[in-house]
């Protein structure tokens, strides 16, 4: 199958949607499909061979934060050319409400279009972005997919219609064989995420770590992710500071290896998580998971059967859970086994099968994706000329 995927955000800026598009494309290619991705990009040299430069992104305020999106005449003509030359069986647009390449692709194409909604958007914001314009793009989409119940509600409440729920995936094969990054002096506890973002909950873990280290003196706290450790750890006593290692931001492969080296991965988040993909990554890498009991986390951990839960923001409870877990090798092994079973349902290989079912149900009996020339007076004339030129 020939699949064209549209990514709305800059490829070389880290983000959940970009990672999703990359994993989707690579999994489908591994399965033998032909995939082309068009995406905004800062530096076209960073693109993998299956991706096409959709233009430089501009910073615009969108959906409550500053997003790097691409639009304009030049982007439009690039998208049109990509569709014309791609001969795709199906077009897959990510985040169709973002005023970026996705909307341009919907306007430029006719034929089977599938779209995935990732974030939840308030109606007021949709209205501001131009409800009518969004509608004209949405009406061409044959199948809507939501990655979470949250995203699905956005569609049902604000856009009309329904969506198929296909959750985010994890490339389990990248994690399950990861070789531990290094040996730690004692049991290692890991944290992953922006150190200086309060919602990621590092202060709670630091408070708990003081208690843990008082009981297990060789325990090490491994910090993975961006942020300045000197600033974040400025209030931490020097003695405790010796037990903390900061690895900074790691690439995908090293992140998997760092997770594989842990005796417990802790997610002390206090809110703002809609899915908990990191938990799945830790489970895939074989790290026992301890997480705050946010709805999304409890769901991923199957109510606590695949990982230990503690009340959100409760440092003493976290310390107790982690100390017990570090002392109990049998329980750790049980959590690792349950986790690796659990993560299978979220494996990209199985997610991709669900996607292919959606593709098949919109492409059956269709003739693929072509350029939509309605309303394109200039484009139509130009095309006729080139067609004649090729014909003669």
């Amino acid at each position: 199958m020939k699949i064209g995927i549209v990514c709305p955000y800059a490829w070389d800026v880290p983000g959940g949607v970009q990672a999703h598009v990359r994993d989707q494309a690579e999994t489908l290619i591994d399965m033998g499909h032909t995939v082309s991705v068009i995406t905004p990009v800062e530096d076209p040299d960073t693109l993998p061979p299956y991706a096409v430069d959709g233009g430089r992104p501009r910073s615009v305020p969108y959906n409550g934060s500053v997003a790097r999106l691409t639009f304009g005449v030049k982007a439009t003509s690039r998208v049109r050319r990509w569709i014309r030359e791609g001969n795709f069986d199906v077009l897959h647009v990510h985040e169709p409400l973002a005023p970026s390449l996705g909307v341009l692709a919907c306007w430029a194409a006719r034929g089977p279009i599938v779209a995935t909604v990732h974030s939840s958007i308030e109606r007021s914001r949709v209205l501001v972005t131009g409800y009518y314009l969004a509608q004209t793009a949405l009406e061409k989409i044959s199948a809507l997919i939501a990655v979470s119940e949250h995203a699905r509600r956005t569609i049902v409440d604000h856009l009309g219609g329904d969506a198929v729920l296909i959750p985010n995936g994890v490339r389990v094969d990248h994690y399950e064989d990861a070789v531990p990054l290094r040996e730690w002096p004692g049991p290692a506890i890991g944290f992953l995420g922006r150190m200086d973002e309060p919602r990621k909950g590092l202060p709670i873990l630091l408070e708990a770590f003081a208690v843990i280290r008082a009981r297990i003196p060789q325990a090490t706290l491994v910090l993975i992710g961006p942020g300045d450790p000197d600033e974040v750890l400025s209030d931490v006593p020097a003695e405790l500071r010796q037990g903390i290692v900061s690895l900074g931001r790691l690439d995908e492969a090293d992140k998997a290896r760092a997770l594989a080296s842990l005796d417990a991965y802790v997610a002390p988040n206090t809110g703002g998580e809609s899915f908990g993909i990191v938990l799945l990554e830790a489970m895939a890498a074989g790290a026992p998971v301890v997480a705050s009991d946010l709805d999304a986390f409890a769901r991923v951990l199957d109510g606590g059967r695949c990982g230990a839960l503690f009340p959100v923001g409760d440092a003493p409870a976290l310390a107790a859970v982690v100390t017990d877990l570090l002392a109990n090798g049998e329980e750790r092994a049980r959590l690792v086994a349950a986790g690796s079973r659990r993560v299978k349902a979220y494996d990209w290989r199985s997610v991709a099968h669900d996607l292919l079912d959606v593709y098949a149900s919109v492409t059956a009996g269709q003739h693929g994706v072509t350029e939509d020339l309605r309303g394109q007076i200039v484009g139509r004339l130009a095309r006729r000329r080139t067609d004649q030129g090729q014909g003669s």
Partner: protein
């Protein structure tokens, strides 16, 4: 002077109304096309499902009694494919129910997989049943979106939809056999 003002204002208003009407007509055209496509896809998946079931009953996957009932409802579904949407929905629902009875759990599915001359037959049936369900859902979504536009007063008064018949949803039981979807 005052008279000209009114003429200009009226012309602008007329142009705006014209633009709105042509955009709405374009929207309707897009929606009708989407319905045609989704209906065609659903039709293909349903035909594929009954063909697969007939194939499986002929190749001895099922025990003789189940095979007779399955083949009968599959033939019924194929015969109804030319009939109106209600009759077809009933016939396809019958096939769905017989399939659910025939493959009630994963154990049964495993036994059938062993009996099948080609084990991928069961996987084909699973994906076709899932695709029937998805296609119907996408089709009914398209119908709902189209009806919303066609209910607008201006669209009705000026009959912007032309002679295109009122879009109908497809109503049927499309539950995939539980034995095939259990993981």
């Amino acid at each position: 002077m005052g008279g000209w003002w009114w003429v200009v204002a009226a012309l602008v208003l007329l142009a705006l109304v014209g633009l709105y009407l042509s955009m709405t007509a374009g929207r309707l055209d897009r929606l009708h096309r989407r319905i045609d496509n989704s209906h065609h896809s659903l039709d293909m998946q349903l035909l594929r499902r009954s063909a697969l079931v007939l194939d499986m009953t002929a190749s001895g996957v099922f025990d003789p009694a189940t095979a007779v009932v399955l083949a009968d409802s599959a033939h019924g579904a194929r015969a109804a494919s030319e009939e109106d949407v209600v009759a077809r929905g009933l016939a396809e629902s019958d096939l769905t129910r017989v399939l659910v009875e025939a493959i009630p759990d994963a154990q049964e599915a495993d036994d059938l997989r062993e009996a099948a001359p080609d084990p991928t037959m069961l996987d084909d049936l699973r994906s076709t049943c899932v695709r029937v369900q998805l296609s119907r859902r996408f089709h009914n979504d398209a119908v709902r979106a189209c009806r919303q536009v066609r209910r607008q007063r201006l669209v009705r008064w000026l009959s912007l939809a032309g002679h295109t018949p009122w879009p109908e949803t497809v109503e049927m039981d499309d539950t995939p056999p539980p034995g095939l979807t259990a993981r």
